[in-house]
């Protein structure tokens, strides 16, 4: 997931980073093919260059040595809303076939089975970034046909529906521990590639609707040994985030 997410980033991107996998992916991209990648955090730090792995998006290592730090309102309005963020990373408890993401409740809003943390900045990242990348482990429960609650809009009502709502961009790829998926012309998920060693069945079983597989379905390229070394030895030497994915 980390290396695939990193490969989606371009050298001239300004990316709104989250902690965990997105942070590792962005730092990996910066050390490999995208040295000029600009990392912005929801907490308002612009072009952070953290010396060590931040514990949260408000960590002091993101502030020390940043190019600028702006108050939250300015970060969300003058940067994100104004279109200065190319790529946003999202995750959540559920994602559906249209790329809508739920990080609010499982079950009924007024009588929830599980109360999740809520949107934070996820809704505005999904609404205002030029592209969003979704990184999430794939299980049937996490991939229902429709999410219980739309916290962050994907292609609500298809690509046209999204455009009618004046939402910018939209999800570009969904990267899971099993596959890389993209969105077709109607704004619905399809599988582009399956990770090495896994089958179509394994991906379908972990999905709550009948998945479409690309006519050019391929195997996801295996991570480069140098990328694995960077992650294990330099970016996450204590295995804090790599462990969490298992």
């Amino acid at each position: 997931m980390i290396t695939r997410a990193a490969s989606e980033l371009r050298n001239d991107d300004t990316v709104l980073v989250g902690v965990g996998v997105p942070n590792l992916a962005c730092n990996l991209a910066k050390r490999t093919h995208a040295p000029d990648l600009e990392m912005v955090y929801e907490s308002g730090t612009i072009d952070s260059e953290p010396d060590s792995l931040p514990l949260s998006i408000g960590d002091p290592v993101l502030a020390s040595g940043a190019r600028s730090i702006v108050p939250m309102y300015e970060g969300f309005s003058s940067y994100l809303q104004a279109g200065r963020i190319d790529v946003g990373f999202l995750s959540g408890a559920q994602i559906d076939r249209r790329g809508n993401i739920n990080s609010t409740v499982i079950g009924d809003y007024d009588d929830p089975t599980v109360r999740l943390p809520g949107s934070g900045g996820a809704c505005e990242i999904a609404s205002n970034s030029h592209r969003t990348l979704v990184v999430v482990p794939q299980t049937k429960r996490r991939f229902p046909a429709e999410v219980d609650f739309v916290t962050s809009p994907g292609y609500v009502g298809g690509r046209e529906g999204r455009a009618e709502k004046n939402l910018r961009g939209g999800p570009e790829a969904v990267i899971t521990d099993k596959a890389v998926m993209r969105f077709d012309e109607a704004g619905e998920l399809y599988v582009e590639s399956i990770h090495p060693g896994l089958t179509k069945d394994a991906v379908q079983t972990a999905t709550g609707w009948e998945l479409r597989f690309s006519d050019d379905l391929s195997e996801t390229p295996a991570p480069d040994p140098e990328e694995i070394r960077l992650i294990r030895e330099e970016l996450d030497p204590e295995g804090v985030y790599v462990e969490q994915q298992d």
């Binding site: 902690v19 929801e42 907490s43 308002g44 730090t45 931040p54 514990l55 949260s56 998006i57 408000g58 960590d59 002091p60 993101l62 502030a63 020390s64 730090i69 702006v70 108050p71 939250m72 309102y73 969300f76 309005s77 994100l80 809303q81 809508n100 609010t104 809003y109 007024d110 929830p112 599980v114 109360r115 999740l116 943390p117 809520g118 949107s119 934070g120 900045g121 996820a122 809704c123 505005e124 609404s127 205002n128 609650f149 739309v150 916290t151 962050s152 809009p153 609500v156 529906g161 999204r162 709502k165 004046n166 939402l167």
Partner: protein
Amino acid sequence: MTEQTTLESAIDAAVEDGQSLYLAGFSHLIPFASGHEIIRQGYTDLELVRATPDLIYDRMIAAGCASKATFSWAGNPGVGCLRAFRRAVEEGVPNPLEIEEYTHFGMVARLKAGAQKLPFVPLRTFAGSDLPEYNDKIRTVADPFSDDGENEGEDVHVVPPLEPDTAVVRAQRADADGNAQLWGIVGETVDAALAAETVVLSVEQVVDESVIRSDPNRTMIPGTAVDYVVEIPYGSHPSYVQGYYDRDNPSYVEWDEVSETHESTLDWLDEWVYEVTDHREYLEKLDAERLLDLQPQPDYAEPIDMGDYS
């Protein structure tokens, strides 16, 4: 007039049962000592407002201080969920907790409206999300300039002003009049101070006015907005203060276990809040070694030249 006083008397004067209360801070500069003092003084029926309610609101909820939470992300940053918050929402323990929910942008836009005394602030978020369906303070207005030919009559989401009865905000330093300088992640601290009716400013250091005047661009909270100034070193522990001390991460991880049941949470509150008289006693109990370990190496910014034009 700003009054420099003790934390106990500032909280006693500024906080009342039933108020809306904003303890500001985005991971950084969180007023933990003030939150503990509010718990000790036994307030109830508070509306706890904040973009990122974290451990301190979890403690206040478990202590029975709150009847409502207004927020945008309720979690233990970098660790997981807020267990006491979830118990209150899911099971009504220790009492039911009403919630009013926004996104981060929605919350800080509400503060911006409050700070500017505007009836609402427009923002491009919420379209396509289910949030407006469950919060009737998130509404839309038609673009009032849509008839001048250039705009297409777009509806835009708006949120109303948020003007908390009391805000408690923290900064690195201030003078005795409450002119406060802060650096590092600013979050929503300044807007919370400007939006609230009454403001308690808690700082690491009260400094001479000349220190503040030497670097005016860094003064983000004006003393005119501040009612009470209190000097509380380490007043944000276990959160952090840029340049002073780091986040005490084991405390955040421990809270996940401590708060596993309501009973174990109350035991912790007994030991660390009710049975200590003030923040100084809390720090002594915590042990100086632990605090010293959190201190970063100095890393000074380049001095700037304001110029002497006399």
